[in-house]
Subunit: 115 residues, 2 copies
Amino acid sequence: MAIYQDTALDRTFQALGDGTRRGMLALLAEKGAQTAGELGDPFDIAQPTASKHLKVLESAGLVSREIDGRIHRFTLAPMRLEQAQDWLETHQEFWERTLDRLDQFLKTTKDSNDE
Amino acid sequence: MAIYQDTALDRTFQALGDGTRRGMLALLAEKGAQTAGELGDPFDIAQPTASKHLKVLESAGLVSREIDGRIHRFTLAPMRLEQAQDWLETHQEFWERTLDRLDQFLKTTKDSNDE
């Protein structure tokens, strides 16, 4: 059951489990390369906090860092995002069926209440 | 920037950041309602560990629990999974473009190496 012990996927989802980090990824996806400062600014957080978030994203393989003197520049490394999406899509068919069953159940309940 | 402070989405991604929990969701998606015991068995984990994982999934709104005497029965509550997928899909177009740029870059590099 290799898929259940995929620590890379663990790190991806864990990194996505924070709104600021998702915001940074969205920013990188939209604007391309950004410095650490540019990535911290919109979220009104101190630079050490921004750095910590960027470290989590980097160790999850979601961003790449390029160091140019004192400037750290980040770019999106979207491969891992694709893998997270793949996991969700693999199971989508099953849970859509669950949602359909729920719809059906609610409809049946509603119909019998209407009678 | 409401999307960046969505604590429900935080909890969803955090809950997905563990292989055993993803396995439990896959099992529920495939087989429908399962007891706590049935959900713990395939992962070779002690019942208290299984219970902890199920509590995380429950508080993330990913599973529903139904108590019948001593039996706790779980079903998939896939709405939150859909929201996680929605977030990834919203940004997909952007990071696909990033992947395309990477492809293009690698191709250009390869071409100039081949010359």
